[in-house]
């Protein structure tokens, strides 16, 4: 037994934790001891444990929100596991054990065999290339003083930054899922860009996908110091399998004066089979705080998960700050998405732009939910919202829930919405030029999403476009 495990065992004892399973996996259920154990396994400082415990206690008093326009069977929170060390997850022995549909998607996306194994949870002996890519990247970043590491590492190496900013945008008491995440978060990413530094690379979590199973309760914190500039990419286009159905991530962005944070996501968690069985429930809290003259821009392409509940938002705190939200959300088969944004204008002359494109196919249900709130002191604030829905077939649904509150009369808001059906005529026109139905749909749909795709970094945009085609495959006869 290594000494670190010994310490752990002792700690467990110290906290009165009794269990008969091996020390790397906890039995299902959530209680204070579980929270303590997670913290101790990560060797966390006392203040962080205290924070987790406060979150846990708050969570106990909260109830799961039921206002989103999604339906699912009740979640048994005591039936879920809240900690399992990556190595304890039993890997599949070969790709033969993986859902063939998943594999065919990988092939279409041109993903290498090794990566296919990584993504689907098959044991691999060779260490993934991306680890070395990661190392080179880190060297380049540290030259500029940029910190980019796992959340756990940051807790140990940059405790002052974590202590200052953790929960400063999304307090643990924010909502049911954020409280749950705060109590039991496993790991995630941390990123700090020093004053005046323009981050020399697009920061991507892609290279960390081999860290299996960190996705369940992920926590990300990005701090751009004054005048800094960073573009961050989350996720990858390949559908990721997970043995955990419930995912509740939190992302906090802090954009100090004159800084810019651009956060792009491609979310493609396993959506379940055609009947919706086995898909991920993705309940995410993402929010940024923009100080004076700062800009936060969210771009998301949401194609995966059985249920998506997610509202990347911006608190426009400082004068002249800017918030943007560009979103493409696609649902097919039995998928349900309730997604949108909140723009809270506090500072003067703040400006926000919302472009949302919802695509529904199969029996999918897609809801846009947005809140634009202009507070009394936010003089001269401006918002532009454009919210377009596209329907493919007759059995899907699109819904919009826009809320606009303006508390002064020097501000302006503009809202445009449209719903269109992908036309038989459009598809026929493409076919008459030699394009297959599938090709036609992906073309028409990516045209529909162009305003959002152009916000994505180049390679990401191409992948996203391809992904859309694959997600909608078979949605038209």
């Amino acid at each position: 037994m290594s000494s670190s495990i010994e310490t752990l065992v002792n700690k467990e004892y110290q906290y009165g934790f009794v269990t008969d399973v091996d020390s790397d996996t906890l039995p299902p259920g959530l209680n204070e001891d579980v929270v303590r154990l997670i913290s101790s396994k990560k060797n966390e400082p006392e203040w962080l444990l205290e924070w987790r415990l406060k979150a846990y206690k708050r969570w106990l008093t909260m109830t799961e929100p039921h206002w989103p326009n999604v339906k699912y069977a009740p979640i048994n929170y005591q039936g879920a596991r809240y900690y399992s060390a990556p190595k304890s997850v039993k890997p599949l022995q070969s790709l033969d054990e993986v859902d063939p549909e998943l594999l065919s998607t990988y092939k279409k996306l041109g993903i290498s065999l090794t990566e296919q194994k990584m993504l689907s949870g098959v044991a691999v002996d060779a260490i993934f290339d991306s680890v070395s890519v990661g190392t080179t990247m880190k060297e380049e970043l540290s030259k500029h003083g940029v910190v980019f590491c796992s959340f756990s590492e940051a807790v140990h190496n940059h405790p002052e930054l974590i202590q200052q900013y953790l929960g400063s945008v999304v307090p643990y008491s924010d909502n049911f899922f954020a409280a749950l995440n705060s109590a039991v978060f496993s790991d995630g990413s941390f990123c700090y860009i020093p004053k005046g530094v323009r981050c020399p690379l697009e920061l991507s979590t892609y290279f960390r996908i081999n860290a299996a199973e960190t996705g369940q309760f992920e926590r990300t914190l990005i701090v751009a110091d004054e005048g800094a500039h960073v573009s961050y990419l989350e996720g990858c286009t390949a559908p990721k399998r997970s043995t955990n159905q419930l995912h509740a991530a939190v992302v906090e962005l802090v954009a100090l004066d004159r800084s810019t944070i651009k956060y792009s996501t491609v979310q493609n968690w396993y959506a379940g089979d055609k009947e919706g069985v086995g898909g991920i429930y993705n309940f995410v809290t993402k929010r940024g705080k923009a100080h004076a003259d700062a800009k936060i821009s969210w771009t998301q392409v949401e194609t995966g998960s059985a249920i998506t509940w997610k509202y990347p938002s911006v608190i426009l705190l400082g004068d002249n700050s800017v918030g943007e939200f560009y979103s493409v959300a696609v649902v097919n088969n039995k998928q349900q998405a309730d997604t949108g944004t909140k723009m809270i204008h506090i500072g003067k002359n703040t400006k926000s732009t919302i472009i949302s494109k919802g695509i529904s196919a199969g029996e999918g249900q897609n809801s846009y939910r947005g809140r634009v709130q202009i507070l009394p002191k936010a003089e001269g604030a401006r918002n532009y919202t454009q919210c377009d829905s596209m329907l493919i077939g007759n059995t899907c649904g699109a819904h919009t829930f826009p809320y606009i509150e303006v508390a002064n009369n020097s501000s302006t808001t503009e809202h445009e919405a449209s719903t269109s059906k992908i036309g038989e005529d459009q598809i026929f026109y493409c076919k008459a030029r030699g394009l297959s139905a599938e090709h036609a749909i992906s073309l028409i749909v990516s045209g529909f999403c162009r305003e959002v795709f152009k916000e994505l970094p180049m390679e990401f945009a191409l992948e996203a476009q391809q992904l859309l085609g694959i997600t909608l495959e078979g949605s038209v006869g």
Binding site: G423, E424, D425, Q426, F428, Y429, C430, K431, A432, R433, G434, L435, S436, A437, H439, L443, I444, S446, G447, F448, C449, R450, E451
Partner: protein, 248 residues
């Protein structure tokens, strides 16, 4: 090249084509004229494979194959081209991208490599000249916000790129100004070869001065009520359709 035999087609319960027979050989130009609502566009769309029409009787043979058995995209890949009476808008998709996708589908269907964007641009430069079109139009969304005339010109640009065996032009001349008509007709003529054929649907003799037909057919009430040479078009211009429709 194309043999249509006793073709009947419905839209829903409504019978529109009621027994059309027509043979088009390589190298020929056929003009189809006829009153509004007589079924000209329907015929054109049935040949292209529009799913909104159901063929209830008859057959279409195209280069020795059963055309009605082929999916619309396969027909296109095999060289059937329809210039739409009402070209469809596809917002957000650039004309250039659309054309390249179509062109590459054609190449793939014939076992050729896809063409990369740079090469394709060179090709486009020549093709734009055929219809005298501003290259800026390539960067705009397919037909979105195009004027009526621009849409028609764009159809012929697509035809120039795809070089079909059988081109069907459905009222491509409607909405064109006099200069544009000359340009478009010139484009169609420039694309004519001994091994391809053209069917032009039109209301105006004027177009047929530029694209000279070998045969003129009059469609009325879903049937071809009269066929003749190019002089028939002049006769129609003078007399209208009434004298023919009466015999239908």
């Amino acid at each position: 090249m194309l043999t249509i035999d006793n073709l009947h087609a419905n839209a829903g319960d409504k019978a529109i084509l009621k027994g059309i027979s027509l043979t088009v050989n390589a190298g020929e130009v056929h003009a189809i004229m006829g009153p509004n609502g007589s079924g000209k566009s329907t015929l054109a769309q049935v040949i292209a494979g529009h799913p909104g029409f159901e063929v209830t009787k008859g057959s279409i043979t195209y280069v020795g194959q059963d055309l009605l058995e082929m999916d619309p995209e396969v027909r296109a890949q095999q060289g059937v081209f329809l210039a739409f009476q009402y070209p469809v808008e596809i917002p957000g998709v650039t004309n250039a991208y659309f054309l390249r996708s179509a062109y590459n589908e054609l190449r793939k269907a014939h076992g050729k490599e896809e063409m990369d964007p740079m090469e394709f641009l060179d090709l486009m430069e020549q093709k734009l000249k055929v219809v005298d079109m501003d290259p800026a139009m390539l960067q705009r969304s397919v037909n979105a916000g195009f004027s009526g005339g621009e849409k028609k010109r764009n159809e012929i640009l697509q035809m120039a790129v795809l070089e079909p065996k059988l081109a069907i032009l459905d009222e491509t001349d409607s909405g064109l100004d006099i200069d544009a008509l000359r340009v478009v007709a010139g484009g169609v003529n420039a694309l004519k070869r001994p091994d391809n054929a053209t069917i032009v649907v039109t209301h105006y003799q004027r177009l047929l001065n530029h694209i000279v037909p070998d045969f003129v057919h009059v469609l009325a009430g879903g049937k071809i009520v009269k066929s003749g040479g190019k002089e028939l078009a002049l006769e129609l211009e003078a007399k209208g359709y009434d004298w023919l429709v009466g015999t239908a």
